[in-house]
Symmetry: C2
Subunit: 376 residues, 2 copies
């Protein structure tokens, strides 16, 4: 009996060649100018090769910076996708399903879900072949998880998790303050912090409308206090921090900063002595200004965190962190960030995909952009 499914226009060749599409660039520039949807074929997996089919790949701000050429980790440009000019595949995070393995592949089999062990693999594509299973981290138990959840666990939740754990000596009852509280990292920090008993002061950009909804939304996932960037920089802010923290008896040991500029300085002032301000982004493009007395007399430490470098240096810890977060998701203790799905089927046009990438750095978004692969 004939299937009711629409006929697919793509074909797998008689020799087992897989047809694939990838969002690629041959030179750095604005996504709209340089991204091209490239079609190529993938040979059957043999020896230690394996072929994967992507299920979901988010669009992170750092991915855009990488396409623009202003990100310190550079992608690999290669002619192995059948071009004369070397090209790179965009994207650094995602989840894929193993669809075939060479006879020499150990530890992974058809049907397994994998995420990237390190950035740089190129995840904005329907299929990929890897020379080795070493590029992937196997999801030990995919039950109860969606591709959306698994595909976005590596960057934002891991960043929030390690920043909360690895800098200040945080104990239940301690506070942290963060800007970009509405971001993927921000929401992950609120939730993880709450699970571990930390209280949070959450800074979001002031906006003309929707402020009350946003506050309610963040409080719904566990935020103790939500304030605007303008409030943080007001004269009254220190007095308010003092109120929230029981006259300073509860310590604000940690600040998480993805904005920079004067806002970061104001946040540093709200930290208790010996506190840490950890910078993981610079949305304002302004440097962090450190009045010397904060450094010398309050002994505030200023550090940075880059999940890419951390992942490369701590592969075992990365696996543990990912598994811990996935378990929390499975147990219903950790909610997804709001996402804006971009469906990627075989027939999806280049323009649709490029628009999704280009829109990521602009203004207030309804959620995190994520490619979700359908009929590929």
């Amino acid at each position: 009996m004939a299937s009711v499914k629409a006929p697919q226009t793509r074909a797998i060749s008689a020799y087992g060649y897989e047809q694939a599409k990838a969002l690629t660039f041959a030179k750095y520039g604005e996504p709209a100018d340089v991204l091209r949807l490239h079609t190529h074929s993938i040979s059957p997996a043999h020896s230690t090769n394996l072929t994967v089919r992507f299920l979901a790949s988010p669009i992170n701000p750092a991915d855009i910076n990488q396409v623009q050429g202003i990100y310190p980790s550079k992608p690999a440009f290669t002619t192995s996708l059948g071009t004369t000019e070397p090209i790179a595949v965009g994207g650094n995070e995602g989840v894929a399903e193993v669809i075939s393995t060479g006879s020499g592949v150990k530890g992974l089999q058809k049907g397994d879900w994998v995420i990237m062990k390190s950035p740089g693999f190129g995840t904005w594509r329907t299929h990929a072949q890897s020379a080795s299973a070493d590029n992937f981290l196997r999801i030990e138990n995919k039950e109860g998880l969606t591709p959306h959840q698994v595909g976005t666990v590596s960057v934002n939740p891991c960043t929030a998790y390690r920043m909360l754990k690895d800098f200040a000596d945080m104990n239940a009852g301690d506070w942290f303050i963060q800007n970009g509280a509405n971001s993927g990292v921000g929401r992950a920090a609120i939730q993880l912090g709450k699970l571990w008993g930390y209280k949070s002061i959450n800074v979001v950009r002031a906006r003309d409308s929707g402020m009350e909804e946003l506050k309610a939304d963040l409080k719904g996932v566990g935020a103790d206090v939500v304030v605007t960037d303008e409030e943080v920089q007001s004269k009254e802010f220190m007095a308010r921090v003092n109120e929230w923290t029981n006259g300073g008896r509860e310590h604000v040991k940690l600040g998480l900063n993805c904005v920079g500029g004067k806002l970061a300085t104001s946040m540093a002032k709200a930290l208790s002595s010996e506190g840490h301000l950890v910078t993981y982004g610079a949305m304002s493009k302004q440097p962090v200004q450190l009045p010397a007395p904060l450094l010398i007399f309050k002994n505030i430490h200023f550090d940075g965190f880059w999940v890419s470098k951390w992942s490369d240096s701590n592969p075992v810890q990365k696996k543990e962190t990912v598994n811990h977060v996935l378990n929390l998701i499975r147990e219903g203790k950790f909610k997804d960030v709001p996402m804006q799905e971009v469906k990627w089927d075989w027939n999806t046009e280049q323009e649709t995909l490029v628009d999704a990438v280009s829109g990521t750095l602009q203004g207030f978004r309804k959620g995190k952009g994520i490619f979700v692969f359908g009929e590929t």
Copy 2:
């Protein structure tokens, strides 16, 4: 037979009262405006009291800031020196000799040399009485040491010592870069670093004359490279650092900053990945500016160091550090900084003493100001 010594005009009363003078202030302000030479008498030591006679007390820049009221640690204002208005005694560092002890004093006896365990005691005075021996750290072996050396060991050499030891993982062959290289801390860092096998890039203020002498002077105590602040901020500086450090194969793991502003940012850029910039002063009064990529992608850490707080929190380690430096001095391995002596006899006028304090923050000095007590 009569002594040839000039007759002293001061008297010790029949009841053992000691006459003392102290450089004091009743309110914060510029040293010339607020410092007064105050004469008072000290009762005989009894129970756990002990009386000391100062031998040498330096004038540190932080002491001036304390008189100005802009230093975070405030001195104790008291009426115990016989005034109706509470006054504080200036100075935070120095060496004194025990001249009498109450019967309840343990661990200290007449003739012992002591330094202050913590700042805040007030060292710009001929004599002092302390309610307890706990304020003092006994010099175990004063043989071969001058009061100048012992009186200046607590602040500058301890600051340099702990900054070199406690922030970066420094090994023989590693580099550090520091500004204010001609200061007490700077010269101590050069010498201690050299003893431990560290190489140093030393930044001094550009000057119209005497540059070659200064370079030779600092190289004489162990500096590997001496450069001006202007050179550090030039485009070619990174290439020069690269040359000195064998193409970057030798790492610049540590920066010591007492200036701030753009100079500190330039120094941070010269650090290797994972480096630490430790701020212990802010001579430029400009904040340290941290471009986010230095924090995030190079993982440079920005810390502060305050020897006062460190001393209070680490009394045992302070004693060890002081003893280690004093041993190095005794063995001829650690040279005094150049000093500008201000002799303080019983008859020395207030104006002479106040002028010495006022001059400390001004321009290029021939050496560190230090009160050396004679006939008191």
